[in-house]
């Protein structure tokens, strides 16, 4: 037997092989970087998509829960972009769409068949959920998502600064403006509502005694009281007492904790960070009524888990959602209270969550129950964008509120017609 092998590797062969590999490797890579590898379970591969939470430790917690699931390999796409909704919507149209994703209940996801009916996994424990959360996820009697956390949003303030300036906690928007004026100093602005003011659009509507849509899914925000509220907001915007152009947005506690402002609109999720920075020098109050006929309001935001109905693994994904957000109560409590403070949507968990039972967190829960407004599933992202444009046009740009609302009506009306006929 010849010692000489038939497969002689000369220089050219090697070059050819290297060239082949060079071509094949990127092609292989094109299809592999989809976040579907590396899970610890067995069987199906599932992908879940989360927006980046600001509180330290949440990402690790989400990945830890996923790793504990043994019926499938669950990998996490952690989206740090500020434009989570755009990224999610675009990804849902592709083969790389996540099997499970978090978002807010919106009817267009149901109408376009993008989210699966989860009634069968929620119905057995429906009575243990906050009734408003169930309503906000229901279309034609079917439940399309599982609420993970409720996030009340209100004002945080420093009582020591109030005392120094002789200011009492505002009960009306006029009082908020007066307080902002008194609290503004050379280094500190009176109040911070976020850089783009988007976070306070819905509270502004509710505090004027109006709503986004009524029970018949008709426009309910275009009222004289809302117009008056918009005019007052413009006055505050132009007063020099509102913090504008801050390095971080409303959801981050830095503006108040670093002394850039005396009052900040934010969510209860940031309460532990506020407390860490300011200790006991911290108070909260709801968005005050903008007109006499209005009433204070709190936006009960939050995040819900949905299953991609068009994915290949919809059934396995539903099993995973049931396991994590229905069965694993210890993870749900951990997610709601160990990082930022959120209110668990499950009544049994909310009742047993020790960190929410006393002090400022308990006050937050009280405001949530007393003044809270929940997501309306008929109020879609396009409608939300239209109301953001109202703020841009008539508050930041000093346009006519009536004209801005008319423009908004056209967009919302077009959207309503497409969704409800």
């Amino acid at each position: 037997m010849s010692a000489q092998s038939n497969s002689t590797w000369d220089r050219r062969s090697l070059l050819r092989a290297a060239a082949g590999l060079a071509v094949a490797a990127p092609l292989a890579a094109c299809g592999s970087n989809n976040g579907r590898g590396g899970g610890s379970g067995s069987g199906k591969q599932l992908t879940q998509m989360f927006h980046a939470y600001g509180e330290p430790g949440v990402e690790q917690a989400v990945k830890r829960y996923a790793a504990a699931y043994k019926k499938a390999n669950v990998t996490t796409q952690w989206i740090t972009s500020a434009d989570y909704e755009s990224k999610l919507f675009a990804t849902l149209l592709t083969r790389n769409a996540p099997d499970v994703f978090e978002f807010h209940p919106q009817i267009q996801l149901v109408k376009s068949g993008q989210v699966a009916d989860l009634s069968d996994i929620v119905n057995p424990v429906k009575d243990d959920f906050n009734a408003a959360d169930i309503t906000s996820h229901t279309v034609d009697g079917k439940i399309y998502g599982v609420r993970m956390i409720d996030d009340p949003q209100f004002f945080f303030y420093r009582p020591s600064l109030f005392e120094k300036a002789g200011v009492k906690v505002p009960e009306t928007f006029d009082e908020l403006m007066e307080a902002a004026a008194k609290l503004t100093t050379g280094k500190t602005k009176g109040v911070y509502l976020g850089n783009d003011l988007h976070a306070i659009v819905n509270p502004l509507i509710w505090s004027a005694g109006a709503d986004t849509l009524n029970d018949k899914n008709e426009i309910a925000y275009h009222t004289p009281a809302v117009i008056e509220g918009l005019k007052k907001l413009r006055t505050l915007f132009a007063s020099g007492h509102l913090l504008l152009g801050a390095p971080t947005d409303f959801w981050d506690p830095s503006a108040l904790s670093q002394g850039l402002c005396a009052i900040q609109f934010c969510g209860m999720w940031a309460m532990p960070q506020f407390q860490k920075a300011l200790g006991d020098d911290l108070g909260i109050f709801p968005f005050p009524k903008t007109v006499d006929s209005g009433k204070p309001s709190v936006y009960n935001g939050g995040w819900s888990m949905f299953v991609n109905a068009k994915g290949d693994n919809a059934e396995a994904a539903k099993e995973y959602v049931k396991w994590l957000w229905i069965d694993q109560k210890q993870y749900q409590e951990d997610f709601a209270t160990s990082y930022g403070f959120h209110i668990p949507p499950r009544s049994s968990i909310a009742a047993s969550a020790t960190p929410l039972k006393s002090g400022l967190p308990a006050q937050g829960v009280k405001l949530f129950n007393q003044y809270g407004h929940f997501d309306n599933i008929g109020w879609t992202q396009a409608m939300i964008q239209a109301t953001w444009d109202v703020i841009a046009d008539c508050v930041r740009k000093n346009g006519d509120p009536e004209a801005a609302l008319d423009t908004c009506d056209k967009t919302v009306g077009r959207e309503l017609k497409k969704l409800f006929g």
Binding site: F89, Q108, S112, G245, P247, K397, T407
Partner: protein, 321 residues
């Protein structure tokens, strides 16, 4: 036995059989080599450019919300919608004004830098690199630096710190359109980012101008400085200027990154591409209307470019020197 032998006639050499086209022979073919090198790029061009353009034109005639494989043909409805959408029309108008400002400004700044660098006797390579380096910076990174460090609306932003030294109150540069300070932020960012690249083009063109022209002009009594610049340098740069203005115009209409990052979700200062992003990929997810807008924008860029080419004689640059 005698044997006679005929002198052997040399038989004609058999016609040489045409060799089979071997792999080795094929590799020698210039046509083959041409296609070998061109085909990957051609395939990329077709797959990633022409097919999406064609699909976009196709989508523009369909109702395509939350889908890119539509079924409901609606004719020109998407075009009507986009052309009557005040936000989209406004973005086209705003950016025609923006282009009218940024194109000559960048042209002047980059030409000025090129003239300065070209005059240097020492450290020319250093300064050429210094001015060119911002081109390597990402528009997104530059926008974030401009937004968070230089033009932050709070007291510790660099510009507000400087204003504070003179007793001037801090300005919220990007928060409000009145006064429109946001243009200052955008224009400075864009000038910083793109002037270096066009400076290099001008520098190359300047170094191609024969020194004899200046010598002849000097003999004829032309004064160095403005007179020489106006009558010799500028006409010699005509071809480069035309190309630079063309590229700047297209870049102005394709502006996205710095506007998207600096003016997050505002209704003002929105270029057409950001408007289309929000229509197609953002909250509306209307790929039909977004595609119609893209076709309109492309048509506008083509018209403006052709007009500019006609005006400045694009392609006639060499003849008209």
């Amino acid at each position: 036995m005698s044997t006679t032998t005929k002198p052997a006639l040399a038989s004609p050499a058999p016609a040489k059989a045409r060799p089979a086209r071997t792999w080795r022979g094929l590799r020698g073919s210039r046509t083959f080599n041409f296609w070998l090198f061109i085909s990957p790029f051609l395939a990329g061009l077709i797959i990633f450019i022409y097919v999406p353009i064609g699909w976009s034109v196709y989508l523009s005639f369909f109702d395509a919300r939350f889908t890119v494989t539509p079924s409901k043909f609606i004719g020109f409805d998407n075009y009507t919608y986009m052309l009557t959408d005040p936000k989209f029309v406004h973005s086209l108008g705003t950016f025609t004004v923006f282009a009218a400002f940024i194109v000559p400004t960048t042209w002047a700044v980059s030409l000025g830098l090129a003239l300065l660098v070209n005059r240097l006797r020492f450290l020319r390579a250093f300064f050429r690199s210094v001015f060119f380096l911002p081109t390597a910076c990402s528009y997104v990174a530059a926008s974030l630096i401009w937004k968070m460090s230089l033009f932050s609306g709070v007291r510790f932003g660099l510009m507000n710190t400087v204003l504070g030294w003179f007793g001037i109150d801090g300005i919220a540069w990007l928060a409000s359109p009145s006064p429109p300070w946001y243009w200052l932020v955008i224009v400075t960012a864009r000038l910083w980012l793109q002037s270096g690249f066009y400076m290099i083009l001008f520098l190359a063109a300047l170094q191609n101008i024969p020194a004899e022209l200046y010598e002849a002009a000097a003999i004829d009594g032309a004064r160095p400085g403005w007179q020489t610049f106006r009558h010799i340098t500028l006409p010699q740069l005509r071809a480069t200027s035309t190309a630079v203005i063309l590229l700047l115009l297209i870049a102005a209409y394709q502006a996205f990154d710095e506007f998207f990052n600096l003016l997050d979700k505002t209704t003002w200062g929105r270029p057409p591409l950001v408007e289309l992003y929000y229509t197609a990929l953002g909250t509306e997810q209307d790929y039909g209307a977004g595609s119609a807008g893209a076709v309109i924008l492309t048509a506008l860029i083509v018209v403006v470019t052709l007009f500019q080419g006609k005006l400045m004689g694009f392609g006639r640059g060499e003849d008209s020197k």
